[in-house]
Structures are given as C-alpha cells and as structure tokens.
C-alpha cells in the first residue's frame, strides 16, 4: 500500500516536471503596457491591459501586440486627442514588437528566480518601425513566468506630430513600462 502511494506520488511529480519542461511557448492576452510623460506643466499616463505577448522559451523569440485604442487615460479628452490626432488609431489600429531575448539560455525556467536579460527587436508604432533594445526581467515562480521591462521612445521617431499649442505638455521622451504574467502555455 505504502509503495503504491509512493509510486503515485513519484508519477505526479514527474508529470508536473515534464509539463514544466515541455512548455516551449508561453503567452498572455492580458499583459500590461503603460506609458508616462512628465513635464513641468503636466504628468500624463495611460494603461493598456489587453496586450498579447508570446515568448518562445527555447529560442528566445518574443512578440507583443496591442490595440492602440485600448490605452486608457484618466481624462476622456486626452484619450480622444491620443487616438484621433497623435496615434491616429483609426488608421494605425495596432502597435507591435517582434524581437529576440538573445541571452535566453541563462534563464532556467525550471528554477525559481529573477533573471535579467536583454531584448532587441523592431517596435512598430503609427506605421513606423524602429529598432529597440531594452533590459528585461523574467521572474520564474513555480510554473508561472512574469516579464517586466522599461524603455523610452520619442514620439518624433514614429512621425507622431504634437501640435504646438500642447507641445510643452507632452515630454519629448515617453517612458514605456511592460508587465506580463504569462499565464498560458502551448
């Protein structure tokens, strides 16, 4: 009887471990991207909690995709200006990033911990694609992986023109924060 219980226990552990090892692609459809603009006149921030992101844990390939219209501001007027005048979300409805975690090999997805890695790739906003490199932290807790990163973008690099009248209200460089809990796997 005791042996049977031990065998079942061992099989359960092995099954759990194999599930952890075999998940090559982890993804979420509810990640978060936020941006923050700070000027002496005004602080502006917005959140998007409908971010799709996938990481291939073997190759390090990573991608993000967001509907621009899902960025949420505190004030409706800011949201309207952001969508209609600056990002033109009717015309360029999605923003995306496709890249590579070059040092993915140093992340052991079977061992809990925080791993600092570097992500490089192409960021497409407002129909313009530019290369971006950013440090990223991958945190492994059990069978869960969370990713976070922070980097800066300049609206002018993506042909986003800010009218003169509000130019002093919007920073030349915008801080972008990414947080994703990769809660699903393939």
């Amino acid at each position: 009887m005791t042996n049977t219980i031990h065998t079942i226990g061992l099989l359960t552990v092995l099954l759990f471990m194999s599930a952890r090892v075999s998940a090559q692609k982890i993804y979420t459809k509810n990640g978060r991207i936020a941006f923050y603009s700070k000027t002496p006149l005004e602080d502006i921030s917005a959140d998007n909690n409908q971010v799709m992101s996938v990481i291939n844990t073997q190759t390090g390939e990573v991608q993000f995709s967001v509907l621009v219209k899902n960025f949420r501001f505190k004030k409706a007027l800011m949201e309207e200006h952001f969508n209609d005048s600056y990002l033109e979300s009717g015309k360029y409805s999605k923003a995306s990033f496709k890249g590579l975690i070059k040092d993915i090999a140093k992340v052991n997805f079977k061992v809990d911990g925080s791993y600092l890695v570097s992500v490089s790739g192409d960021l497409t906003i407002h129909g313009i694609t530019k290369p971006v490199t950013a440090p990223c932290t991958l945190t492994i807790t059990g069978d869960k992986t969370a990713g976070s990163a922070k980097f800066f973008v300049r609206p002018t690099d993506y042909n986003i023109s800010i009218p003169k009248v509000v130019r002093d209200n919007i920073a030349e460089t915008i801080e972008v924060t990414v947080n994703c809990n990769y809660d699903q796997q393939l």
Binding site: Y27, N49, Q50, M52
Partner: protein, 145 residues
C-alpha cells in the same frame, strides 16, 4: 442701462461660461457604461462576426456599448488586479475577453453571464503558433450572473 454697463456685465458671464465649458471638457471621464443603451449580442456570434468579416463587424460593433451574453470559460486577474472574464466562443482557445471595472469573485467556469462594455475590436493572435486572437470588451460591468 448704458451699453458700457451691459458689456461690463456680459463679458465676465461669457468668460466664466467659456472657462466652465473648457474645464468640463478637459475633466470629463467618458461615457457612463452602466446607463448607456447597449446592443445585445451573444459571445459566439460576436466572435464569429469579427472572424468572418472584420470590416463589417467593425462598422457594426467597434467602439460601441454592447451587452454580451455567454458562458464563462475562465477568469483571471490582470496586472492592475482587475477581473478579466473570458467568454466562450465556437473557436477553441478564443474568447470574448472582458475586463471588469468592479471586483467579482463568484464567476465560476461554465456559469452563464451577461456583460456590458465597450467593444474595442479583435486583437492579434499567432496563427503559426496556434494562438487565436480574442475580441476585447473594456470598461465592463456584469449585468446578470
């Protein structure tokens, strides 16, 4: 009353009205979803419409307040601790993805529910990886469960 006195009276009134209008425009927080009229549709129908004819679905549903009825596939919490309810569709792995404004703990898998929110369209999946896109509903409230 002389013309000058009329002007002295009306100029401040007009200035205060303009300032009030600018202030209310600047600080307004958007449509009141709970009170807004909503078009009713089921989750499988909404998803099918976006999958089969995106441009038609956009003109019918995009950025409109909808009341979507369906069955709970799964719930989870996003990074800001908001409840996300995934409503079942006819496509495996795909959902109508609803982010709630209120905390709700009793939405269990398989439960029928009606959710009111703004449709923000179909996201992006990855066909190569077999990840279908979701249709998103934001600023949501549960109407019936």
């Amino acid at each position: 009353m002389s013309k000058k006195k009329y002007l002295l009276l009306f100029v401040p009134v007009i200035m205060i009205s303009v300032a009030g209008f600018i202030y209310s425009s600047y600080t307004r927080t958007g449509v009141n979803i709970k009170k807004a009229n909503a078009e009713k549709v089921t989750a499988p129908t909404l998803y099918e419409r976006f999958s089969n004819n995106t441009s038609r679905a956009k003109s019918d549903y995009l950025h409109k307040v909808l009341e979507v009825s369906g069955t709970v596939m799964r719930t989870n919490k996003n990074q800001q601790e908001q409840t996300v309810v995934l409503l079942k569709t006819m496509t495996e792995g795909a959902a109508v993805n609803c982010t709630l404004e209120e905390k709700l703990e009793d939405l269990t898998e398989g439960k029928p529910v009606s959710i009111k929110g703004i449709c923000s369209g179909m996201g992006e999946g990855d066909l190569d990886l077999g990840i279908p896109a979701d249709v998103y509903l934001v600023r949501c409230y549960v109407i019936k469960n």
